[in-house]
């Protein structure tokens, strides 16, 4: 693996094109939270691209920054969260805008949210107002973003409810969320988020709170809708099973850092980073016979007492003394499109 003088240039080349053919390009994103106890670097220099129609998974354990990454893209961070560095370039019509440079409440972001980039959440009840019908809320979204009549919007809403497999769209459109069961609410939320045919759907743990048979329905729905409408999806989850079932590429995060990134086949079959390997050996498998599991030692450190150097070195079975705790390891390409941030694979040259 070659090390050029500028690791960023290397990255742009490695991720097959940069902003030109990608829908969304995130570069060196740093989102920090400020509180009385100190500064939490929730996202600490994350970069990735997503092309039109692609499904990208972002996986990691609690506190890794996967949800904050998605909130940064839509600029819906909690009050004490601030993007301090980086670029989020979105291909918007025929121009590219840096979402970080826009006003979070400004016209551009209000136009993009819901229309170009939509989001679905873990808990569908939070996506809907309980005092308006499902239909009214979908119609409202459509009419905010498109110049259509009420009747046309109603038609579109019906069509979307039908597409997500609601049992009787004509009746469901006049129902409230409390009339619906958990699985139906999830479907309604997908219908709402897709009502303006976004180019990018961000799904933040959409299957975490549901039963396994409903989860299977939801994954099938996302797969079908994606094939049908061709939007790109960012799937954020801690469940590596869901990542393996749905995504094309995956980025593994740990304490705000990207540790490994590649096609889902590369990352699952040829995991390189000790953290990725540990995650994969930690999960019990649905395979015949006795398959042992191997946990990762220790626990995720407190965000206020972040380790120096590689954030994983305190738990790493391959820790190299005098190297890993010094500096953050750079991302190195171990195979085409497969990048790892670990000194086992190089990047030590710059260390004294």
């Amino acid at each position: 693996m070659s090390q050029s003088a500028d690791p960023d240039l290397e990255r742009h080349a490695a991720v097959s094109g940069g902003p030109s053919d990608s829908l969304l390009t995130v570069r060196n994103l740093q989102t920090h939270f400020f509180s009385r106890e100190g500064v939490v670097k929730a996202v600490d220099g994350v970069s990735f691209d997503i092309r039109p129609g692609e499904i990208l998974g972002i996986a990691g354990e609690s506190g890794c920054g996967k949800s904050v990454t998605s909130q940064s893209i839509l600029r819906i961070l909690p009050k004490n969260g601030k993007i301090v560095e980086g670029e989020i370039l979105f291909n918007y019509g025929d121009r590219t805008v840096d979402l970080i440079q826009e006003d979070a409440d400004g016209a551009v972001l209000r136009d993009i949210r819901g229309k170009e980039i939509a989001m679905i959440f873990q808990e569908p009840m939070t996506a809907f107002s309980p005092v308006h019908t499902i239909g009214d809320q979908i119609i409202e979204t459509i009419r905010i973003h498109q110049q259509v009549s009420k009747e046309e919007a109603h038609e579109q809403a019906l069509e979307m409810l039908r597409r997500v497999g609601m049992p009787s769209p004509a009746r469901n459109i006049d129902q409230y969320t409390f009339n619906l069961s958990g699985g139906m609410r999830q479907r309604a939320m997908v219908a709402l988020s897709l009502s303006c045919r976004p180019k990018l759907l961000i799904a933040d743990e959409p299957t975490t709170a549901v039963d396994v048979t409903i989860q299977a329905q939801m994954l099938e729905l996302l797969r079908d809708i994606q094939a049908d409408l061709g939007m790109a999806i960012i799937m954020i989850t801690h469940d590596l099973g869901v990542i393996a079932e749905l995504t094309d590429r995956v980025m593994i995060m740990y304490l705000g850092k990207e540790v490994e990134h590649g096609t889902v086949e590369d990352v699952f079959h040829r995991p390189q980073h000790p953290y990725t390997r540990g995650l994969l050996t930690s999960i019990p498998k649905m395979e015949p016979g006795r398959v042992e599991i191997e946990p990762i030692e220790g626990a995720v450190p407190s965000p206020y007492a972040m380790p120096t150097g590689c954030k994983f070195h305190t738990r790493c079975p391959d820790y190299i003394e005098g190297v890993c705790e010094k500096q953050d390891p750079p991302l190195v390409e171990v195979a085409r499109g497969h990048e790892v941030s670990c000194y086992l694979y190089g990047g030590r040259e710059g260390l004294e």
Partner: protein, 362 residues
């Protein structure tokens, strides 16, 4: 189910036997609290928990697995049925017939671990108080000094630093808190531990630590586990036998490997098929996606409660509720299924699922 030996009410190797367990909750309405219906949370459940084994109760939300465990420990009194508990060679005792005071002895031997170690530990108590409380209540220690020694031993048992016993739960991570909850559960040297979704709230790397710790402790202390969970992969790793519940009933029960590789109930087959597998090669396997949702235990369909979602359902299933009967596992093991067509259906388990995927790729 007929695991009971002829000699008595309990199975030969059973430490707990659940017989015809029923827990119904009335649905009341209006100021007169008129009863308008009944939620059949647990509806005639029978099983034996054998000494030294891990039996898993699995199923989706509302299937009655947690209510069943609460009825065993008498945290909720069952509507009807018996829960027999036997200590060594003593006569079995029916916990459902015992008064609160009498239950103390049994409860010393049946302890629980809960899902969320953030809400199950009192934030105002130190580890010494949390873990020591059961010892004090049951008067198992003579002095404060003895209590400290016992608690320090228990912390060592769950691989925590014994010098932390004066600290409060907030100083510990989720995995460490679950270790504290385990230490508390083990403080009275119980025979049986009921773990209700004990690893569901933990991150995967920590979940694996707790799963292995539970196994080691079982081996070391000869514990019997009732492992209530919804994650099939976790259950496969942890359990010796598995009971699958649907709408308040056990629909299938058998040895873990046998049940996963040759399920005998269509619901089990669908659960196994739906569980996401962390292997991208199985991405395009033919998955069984059940239509609809779990039956409402307040308004169960006639016949087999699973029939509206079952792809093999026939007329008989809509009319007649199937009994849980032994359909015979491999090597003479018992394998119970509550399906009219358990003998004739060719259901697919985990091995089959992977094979058919490979065929599909060619």
């Amino acid at each position: 189910m007929t695991e009971t030996s002829e000699s008595g009410v309990m199975g030969d190797r059973a430490i707990i036997s659940v017989r015809n367990l029923v827990k119904h909750f009335p649905v009341e309405t209006g100021i007169l609290r008129r009863q308008v219906g009944v939620v059949k949370a647990v509806d005639n459940v029978n099983f034996d928990l054998n000494e030294g084994e891990t039996l898993a109760l699995v199923g989706e939300s509302g299937c009655g697995k947690t209510t069943t465990s609460h009825c065993i420990i008498q945290a909720q009194r069952p509507t009807s049925g018996q829960v027999f508990f036997r200590l060594g060679d003593d006569e079995p005792m029916d916990l459902t017939q015992m008064e609160k005071g009498e239950l103390k002895g049994a409860r010393r031997n049946i302890r629980m671990i809960y899902q969320d170690p953030y809400s199950s530990l009192n934030p105002r108590m130190t580890l010494l108080q949390i873990i020591g409380e059961p010892l004090a209540i049951h008067r198992m220690v003579e002095s404060q000094e003895e209590l400290r020694v016992r608690v320090a031993d228990l912390l060592r048992l769950v691989r925590l630093d014994p010098s932390t016993l004066n600290r409060y739960p907030h100083a510990f991570s989720g995995g460490q808190r679950q270790r504290i909850a385990i230490a508390r559960a083990l403080s009275l040297s119980p025979k049986v531990v009921i773990a209700d979704e004990a690893v569901s709230a933990l991150d995967v790397s920590v979940q694996a630590q707790i799963l292995n710790l539970l196994k080691e402790l079982q081996h070391q202390l000869g514990l019997t586990y009732l492992f209530v969970a919804h994650n099939l992969a976790v259950v496969k790793y942890e359990a010796d036998r598995v009971a699958v519940m649907y709408a308040g009933k056990i629909v299938e029960i058998g040895e873990t490997e046998e049940l996963y590789t040759s399920p005998r109930h269509p619901y089990t087959e669908a659960l196994i098929s739906a569980a996401p597998n962390p292997d991208p090669d199985t991405k395009h396997r033919a998955r069984i996606v059940l239509a609809g949702e779990v039956a409402d235990p307040g308004n169960l369909p006639a016949g087999c409660a699973f029939h509206p979602r079952c792809r093999y359902a026939e007329d008989r299933c809509r009319q007649e509720a199937p009994e849980l009967v032994d359909v015979g596992g491999s090597e003479g093991q018992s394998h119970f299924s509550a399906c009219h067509f358990a003998e004739s259906l060719e259901l697919t388990g985990i091995a089959g699922g992977l094979q058919s995927e490979k065929r599909g790729n060619e």
